[in-house]
């Protein structure tokens, strides 16, 4: 791939000399630590340059974590992201368990997997709703968010919380999934199984969705590999990266999981926004199957290897070593590196890598050459979050600058849909 070109665009010096507007930006993408600011360089309607400035939601999580004991760090990790609120604890607990040599009972591994996959269902549905909204299909947004409530209910029944489930703890899980609750899970799963075809019809067989998303925001296979993209963003470009497949962990090690690419839907890989929709919808189906497998094969036994928190803290304080924890979150690979020193309660080193951190760079080739009206859906295509794009600075060719409200961008996007539908 032409790496020079990408570096050049990122280093775009004309963008940095522009005054950026100090205006609050809407909903945050926690994993990336943002509300985010884009600076686009335009030639007419076409995007020829983009500069990305995250950091508006940077809370210094790692800094805070390196001053607290590991149980407190677990709470902190859960609040890195409210949407991936089990992904970070899962990666962190695995990193710490690897570093300290703590075993996890089989039943706990299965429960962690179930909650992780339920999170994937809710996150992908959330994304589908947002994508529909960005295209101007608010009916579909409301429809998808209505059916999403079913999985939120299930999560609440299983964990006691709609968000921030507080399930993993070092060495196991904090709550069981008893048989009577497994029935509720089966019911929710069959609800989604029946619904899936409707979802596929609504998204993939709709003429205007296809028109607005085909060949828009293309990320080629080579770019995806060179830019280290992860998750559905990479898989939509045909890169078969999936931690659950490549380096299995938890209950994923017991199942045959394959990375899903658009080829599984019987279409050639383009790497555009449409392929992103395909991959995410098929992954909902995959998650349903994984949860069913886990419920059917749920092993008995303990929930945690060290049930008493005081004993756990003592073990963690004695631990000495370093560990890596990885989890395939709904958006891609979550990576935690931790180093523990004997006699010190806090981790000596802690690095968190969220999926959007890896996918940040893939925005650049995705935006290049597309129109202003496509900005909302391309920005949403890597699933950064609901609307990181509340305000972007648009730079026209003359070097002047105009601030576009997200509302205006969405309006432009909708007008384009209308235009294309004739």
């Amino acid at each position: 791939m032409d790496s020079d070109k990408i570096n050049l665009e990122l280093g775009c010096t004309t963008c940095t000399t522009q005054t950026t507007y100090s205006v609050p930006i809407g909903p945050v993408h926690p994993a990336l630590k943002e509300p985010i600011q884009f600076t686009f360089r335009l030639s007419g309607e076409r995007i020829v340059g983009v500069d990305i400035k995250p950091g508006y939601a940077h809370r210094g999580i790692e800094y805070m974590g390196m001053k607290r004991n590991l149980i407190q760090v677990l709470y902190l990790a859960e609040r890195i992201c409210g949407i991936c609120s089990i992904s970070h604890p899962l990666a962190l607990t695995q990193a710490v368990e690897n570093a300290a040599g703590i075993e996890v009972p089989p039943r706990a591994q299965y429960i962690r997997t179930i909650i992780g996959e339920l999170e994937r269902i809710h996150s992908h549905l959330l994304w589908a709703g947002v994508a529909a909204h960005e295209l101007g299909f608010d009916t579909l947004l409301h429809l998808v968010w209505k059916v999403r409530e079913k999985v939120m209910d299930l999560l609440e029944q299983l964990t006691g919380n709609r968000v921030d489930y507080a399930i993993p703890i070092y060495g196991g899980v904090r709550r069981d999934i008893p048989d009577e609750k497994a029935g509720l899970a089966y019911e929710a799963l069959s609800y989604y199984k029946n619904l899936l075809q409707d979802m596929i019809n609504a998204f993939l067989h709709d003429k205007s969705v296809a028109m607005r998303t085909s060949n828009v925001g293309v990320l080629t296979y080579d770019d995806a590999v060179a830019l280290c993209a992860v998750g559905p963003t990479a898989r939509a470009s045909g890169v078969k990266k999936d931690v659950r497949q490549d380096m299995p962990y938890l209950a994923y090690a017991d199942m045959d999981i394959r990375a899903i690419t658009p080829e599984d839907y019987g279409k050639p890989v383009v790497g555009d926004v449409f392929d992103n929709i395909v991959v995410r919808l098929l992954e909902v189906d995959q998650s349903i199957k994984i949860i069913e497998y886990c419920l059917e094969h749920m092993p008995g036994g303990e929930l945690t290897s060290i049930p008493k928190v005081a004993a756990l803290l003592a073990v963690l304080k004695k631990a000495d070593g370093e560990g890596i924890g990885r989890h395939e979150a709904p958006r891609g690979e979550v990576f935690h590196y931790i180093r523990l020193e004997a006699g010190v309660e806090a981790p000596v080193a802690w690095k968190v890598k969220a999926p959007t951190y890896s996918n940040l760079m893939s925005w650049v080739p995705k935006f290049m050459g597309d129109e202003i009206a496509d900005i909302p859906i391309i920005a949403a295509s890597i699933d950064p979050c609901m609307c990181c794009l509340d305000r972007a600075t648009l730079v026209d060719q003359g070097g002047g600058e105009a601030v576009k409200l997200k509302e205006e961008l969405v309006k432009l996007s909708r007008e384009k849909t209308r235009r294309m539908c004739g």
């Binding site: 950091g55 830019l227 490549d246 017991d254 890596i324 590196y337 690095k351 951190y357 940040l360 760079m361």
Partner: protein
């Protein structure tokens, strides 16, 4: 991909330059346990571009992230790669560690080989105050442009503390 395969390849190519190498084997799976591997090697800073070039040419790596670890008078940087992705149980994590003394605090960029490393390199620059030689875009990424603190440096903790706002008044609370 097996850990021996990649370690042997690196040892043949770089030989005595590798100051430390070890393989961590972990067992996963409850019904039919299988091993997965974390491979760690340590090389001097000067060899880093050569090592990453070799890795890119031979193994098509995925860079997860670059992590740092403040060891006092030096900082260890861990380049966490994953090689062999794309097939079931095919992947191993491959971490290249290099130690950089604080009195000669700079590292060569690897963005020429792997453009995806830019995010991570910019982050290391602002959080550790290291200079990445040849970085195509050296601006702050997460911190405001006018902020000059390096929060992950333990020796600069006093400086960082000046920016910390005490939300919880521990003295008042605990009497």
């Amino acid at each position: 991909m097996t850990p021996d395969e990649i370690l042997t390849a690196f040892k043949e190519k770089f030989g005595a330059v590798i100051t430390d190498s070890h393989v961590v084997e972990r067992t996963v799976g409850t019904t039919a346990p299988r091993p997965v591997y974390d491979v760690w090697i340590e090389i001097p800073r000067a060899q880093l571009p050569a090592a990453v070039t070799y890795l890119c040419d031979r193994f098509s790596p995925h860079l997860s992230v670059i992590s740092g670890d403040d060891l006092g008078d030096m900082v260890a940087f861990n380049y966490h790669f994953a090689v062999g992705w794309g097939e079931r149980y095919g992947e191993i994590t491959f971490t290249i560690r290099t130690r950089v003394p604080k009195d000669d605090f700079h590292l060569p960029t690897i963005t020429g080989l792997l453009p995806g490393a830019l995010t991570s390199e910019r982050e290391k620059q602002e959080f550790y105050g290291i200079t990445i030689d040849g970085i195509p875009d050296g601006r702050n990424l997460f911190l405001p442009e006018d902020m000059t603190i390096h929060p992950w440096r333990k020796d600069l903790e006093e400086e960082t503390q000046k920016s910390v706002k005490r939300i919880v008044k521990w003295e008042e609370r605990d009497g």
